[in-house]
């Protein structure tokens, strides 16, 4: 990687930071949505822990990992929406005529999404601890933030691929719904054995289940390498797949 490539990536991250500072309201939906869902679902489904098969008596602890990943998903999807806006307004064209390679432009946007995802994750964690979610330990916390960053990168690549395909902000629901389905069609609400048959089948095949379970381990027990490495492999696989798709979209985008 050349020095100027790093400079371009950092400039794009800086642009994202400026947007946050200049339009603070833009970050509010991304923070509010997972926080409201977390509090709401905890209030509504909290008594599910009485069912045999739950490994914790704190639904807040069970749910908080899902909500932080949901925040990462929303933040990543927002990157796609912003890219679609940049395409509509001609800003991407100006980036494409610059000497920066396409992968560098994509990396800047994706890295910005990973860093921005820490905001909703921190908000949800603070609220979670406030209502009694268990402390995951330092290792659990580091693992949570690391998984949040990579999940946001996966979401950003997926949403960017859609933005480059449809070139319109109208594709936003597809970006958000895709991430919502990916994250919630897991053991999000209940352990695997308590899911209905069809959802159990999907959750077993869904690689995000491994990520949810890995982030959850610190909140309902202890962090182990046996439950962590499958999540790392799953995230690496997802990132490689959607990263390749979005890079292909970038390369096919002509000025």
């Amino acid at each position: 990687m050349r020095r100027q490539d790093i400079g371009t990536i950092l400039a794009l991250v800086d642009r994202s930071k400026n947007e946050l500072l200049r339009v603070p309201g833009a970050a509010i939906p991304g923070v509010l949505a997972p926080t409201i869902f977390f509090l709401g679902l905890n209030g509504v489904f909290g008594s599910l822990t009485q069912l045999t098969g739950f490994t914790t008596d704190s639904y807040a602890s069970f749910l908080v990992p899902v909500s932080v990943l949901q925040g990462a998903g929303f933040t990543g999807a927002a990157t796609g929406v912003n890219l679609a806006r940049d395409i509509e307004q001609g800003w991407l064209d100006r980036l494409l005529v610059s000497p920066a390679p396409r992968w560098v432009l994509l990396s800047g946007m994706v890295l910005a999404a990973s860093l921005r995802a820490f905001i909703p994750a921190s908000a949800v964690l603070l609220v979670g601890f406030g209502i009694g979610a268990h402390w995951p330990g330092l290792d659990g916390l580091v693992l949570t933030y690391a998984m949040v960053a990579v999940t946001a990168a996966v979401a950003a690549c997926y949403a960017s691929a859609l933005a480059l395909r449809y070139k319109s902000q109208s594709a936003a629901p597809l970006m958000q719904a895709g991430m919502l389905a990916l994250i919630l069609m897991t053991t999000a609400y209940a352990p695997m054995e308590l899911l209905q048959g069809w959802l159990q089948d999907i959750a077993r095949l869904n690689p995000m289940t491994l990520v949810v379970d890995a982030v959850r381990q610190g909140f309902i027990g202890t962090v182990t390498w046996e439950e962590t490495w499958p999540a790392i492999v799953a995230l690496a696989g997802m990132l490689a797949t959607v990263g390749a798709l979005s890079l292909r979209g970038m390369r096919r985008t002509a000025v």
């Binding site: 939906p29 509010l32 949505a33 409201i36 869902f37 509090l39 709401g40 679902l41 905890n42 209030g43 509504v44 489904f45 909290g46 008594s47 599910l48 009485q50 069912l51 098969g53 639904y59 902000q169 109208s170 936003a172 629901p173 597809l174 958000q176 719904a177 919502l180 389905a181 919630l184 069609m185 999000a188 609400y189 209940a190 308590l194 899911l195 209905q196 069809w198 959802l199």
Partner: protein, 261 residues
């Protein structure tokens, strides 16, 4: 008489316009149909074992219980989308042109609400059909389904009035859009997704007095237990209360809009 006929034609034309607008723009359809359907599937699959909890009311399946919640979620989002669309019309000057025309100003607002009501009806129908396809029974049969659809449509108008009043007062789509998270707060604090007795405090106490709980239970009764009237009557009263409140707010907001232009 001809004045009334003219206004009815205006309401019908504006209602049809707002329905067409929604179907043409996927970003407007998604919150009304796609997201509630997705959440219905996920919540039914994820929390379906809840029917085994002690204290859960007797139901044929969790999907049957959840249908009313999904309808409620969809109609509230339809009401919110209607408010956003009205605010966009105000921002773009379309409403000003209508206000300058020789038609009742209330017909302009009613036209938008008629479109919102049509979406509420369509979403209620959609969820009942989805429920039937995936094995949920409608205990009240066809009359029960019709009562549920009628209540959902009336509730969409009543709640849509609140969105319209915010749109008329502020004239800014972004502010009406900002109410989007509030929809979920109010929904989670009602019995839309779980029986009141099994909710966790303080959600349980708030849900007990939340008018939306009465509306949800009214829609749920014909689906889960059949038509026995008690919850339906409470729902009608709650809808009338919400409608009266939103009518008052809308009338005041309309006067404000006509004053500021």
């Amino acid at each position: 008489m001809s004045g009334l006929a003219t206004n009815l034609r205006v309401v019908a034309a504006l209602g049809a316009r707002s329905v067409r607008q929604t179907f043409r723009r996927p970003q407007l359809m998604a919150p009304i149909i796609v997201f509630p359907t997705l959440l219905l599937a996920i919540q039914t699959g994820g929390a379906g074992a809840a029917v085994d909890l002690p204290g859960f009311p007797p139901v044929q399946s969790f999907l049957q219980f959840m249908l009313a919640g999904a309808i409620m979620q969809s109609l509230m989002l339809a009401a919110n989308s209607g408010g956003i669309a009205l605010a966009v019309d105000i921002e773009m000057g379309f409403t000003d042109r209508l206000f300058a025309a020789p038609i009742s100003r209330y017909a302009v607002v009613l036209g938008r609400l008629a479109g919102t009501a049509a979406l509420g009806l369509a979403s209620a129908l959609w969820f009942l059909v989805v429920g039937l396809i995936f094995g949920a029974e409608i205990a009240g049969g066809v009359p029960g389904a019709l009562v549920a659809i009628a209540l959902a449509t009336a509730a969409t108008v009543a709640i849509g009035g609140l969105g319209a009043s915010v749109a008329l007062r502020t004239g800014q789509a972004s502010i009406v859009q900002g109410m989007f998270p509030l929809v979920f707060v109010v929904l989670f604090l009602s019995t839309a997704f779980f029986p009141e007795g099994l909710m966790v405090e303080p959600a349980q106490t708030i849900a007990k007095y939340n008018p939306l709980s009465f509306v949800v239970e009214g829609i749920r009764e014909p689906i889960v237990t059949g038509l026995n009237g008690t919850d339906v009557l409470d729902a009608v009263l709650a809808i009338l209360g919400i409608a009266a409140f939103s009518l008052l707010l809308s009338a005041r907001a309309l006067r404000h809009r006509l004053k500021v232009g």
